[in-house]
Symmetry: C2
C-alpha cells in the first residue's frame, strides 16, 4: 500500500478510520495503555499508515483532540446569538452535538481521556477558554467572566457525563427538548444573570 | 505481623492506609491497572495484610467505594432541610465535602474510577438514587423526580470535575461561598422549581 498514491477521498477515509479507533482507544485504555499497533489493528489498517498520517502516538492524540469543524462552527454561531437567547442557543448546540455520531465520539473521547491525560485536560481547558469565555457578557471584569464561563462549563460537563456517559437515573431517556428546557435557564443565568 | 493481635486502633489505621492507597491507585491506574501488591507497596504494608482486611481486589474496590459515614450523615441532614432551603443546604454540603481530605479523596476516586469501571459507575448511580432522589419534592410523579434528581447530579458532578479535578478557568480559585451562592439557585430550581 502506498498511501500517497491513493485518491484523496480514500486517504481521508483511512485517516478518519484511524482517528475513530484512536479516540475509542484513548478513552477506554488511556494514552499510556494505547499503542499505534493496537489502534492500527482496530482501524484495520497497516501500522505504517498510522505513522504515515499522524507521526507518533502524541501526534495521533493531538489529532484525536481536534474538535470536528462542524461542531466548532455550531458553537461559534450559538455564542453569537443575542445575549438573552444565548443560554438556550448554547445549551441546544451542546445537547444536539451528542446526536451526531462523529461529534459524540469526539466529546466522549475527550472527556474520558482528559480524566487521566494532562494533554487532553489542557486541550479541554483551552477549548473552554476560547469558546465559552466568548459567550459570556463582555461588560464584566475578567475574574467574573472566567467564573461565569467556568459555571457554564460545569453544567455542560456534568450533563455530558450524567446523561450521555453514565446515564444516571432516567436522564438518558428524557427527550432532548425537555433537557434543553430544564438546563437553558441555568446556562443563561451563568452567562448574564444574577449569580451572587 | 499478626494483625488480629494488634490493638484495635492500629488495625483501623492500617486498613485506612490501605484504603487510601487503593483509592489513589484505582483513580489513577484504573481497576485493571491496579494490583494488590502495588497498593500494599504504596500503603507501606505487607501484601498479606491487604488480603487479610479486604479479601481480593474486588473486595478492596467495594470498600474504596464506601462513602465516609460522616459525609453520608451530612448529605442526609441536607436532604432533610425544609424544601425551600434544600438547594442551598445540599450545595453547601457537596461543596464543603471537598474541604475534608478523606471525603475529597473518596469523591475524587469514585468519580475518576467510575469513568472506566462499571462497578464504580453502578455504585455512583445507586448512591445518587438513594440520596439525591430523597431530596426532590415528593408530590411529583416518579419520572419527574428521577429527572430532577438527575439534573441535580449533573450540576454536582460537573462542579466536582471542573472545580476540583480539572480546575477549569478560575473555578478552583473562587471562594467557596461564591460558588455556593452561584450554584444553589440552580440546584433549588432542579429540586422544586419550574423546569419546563
Amino acid at each position: 500500500v502506498t498511501p500517497s498514491r491513493g485518491p484523496r477521498a480514500e486517504r481521508g477515509e483511512i485517516a478518519a478510520r484511524i482517528l475513530s479507533a484512536a479516540r475509542t482507544s484513548f478513552a477506554t485504555n488511556g494514552f499510556v495503555g494505547s499503542t499505534l499497533r493496537s489502534i492500527a489493528h482496530d482501524a484495520d489498517v497497516d501500522p505504517t499508515l498510522v505513522s504515515y498520517y499522524f507521526g507518533n502516538k502524541r501526534g495521533l492524540l493531538e489529532a484525536a483532540l481536534d474538535p470536528p469543524p462542524g461542531w466548532l462552527t455550531a458553537v461559534a454561531t450559538a455564542c453569537a446569538a443575542p445575549l438573552r437567547q444565548r443560554g438556550r442557543a448554547l445549551t441546544t448546540t451542546m445537547a444536539r452535538a451528542w446526536e451526531d455520531p462523529d461529534t459524540a465520539e469526539f466529546l466522549r473521547s475527550t472527556i474520558l481521556t482528559a480524566v487521566h491525560e494532562p494533554v487532553a485536560m489542557d486541550r479541554l481547558r483551552s477549548t473552554f477558554t476560547v469558546y465559552l469565555l466568548g459567550a459570556v457578557a463582555t461588560n464584566l471584569d475578567d475574574d467574573e467572566r472566567f467564573f461565569r464561563a467556568g459555571l457554564v462549563a460545569s453544567q455542560f460537563v456534568g450533563l455530558a457525563l450524567t446523561r450521555y456517559i453514565w446515564q444516571v437515573g432516567n436522564l438518558a431517556d428524557v427527550p432532548i427538548a425537555k433537557v434543553i428546557d430544564a438546563v437553558a435557564p441555568t446556562v443563561q443565568r451563568y452567562l448574564s444573570g444574577k449569580i451572587i
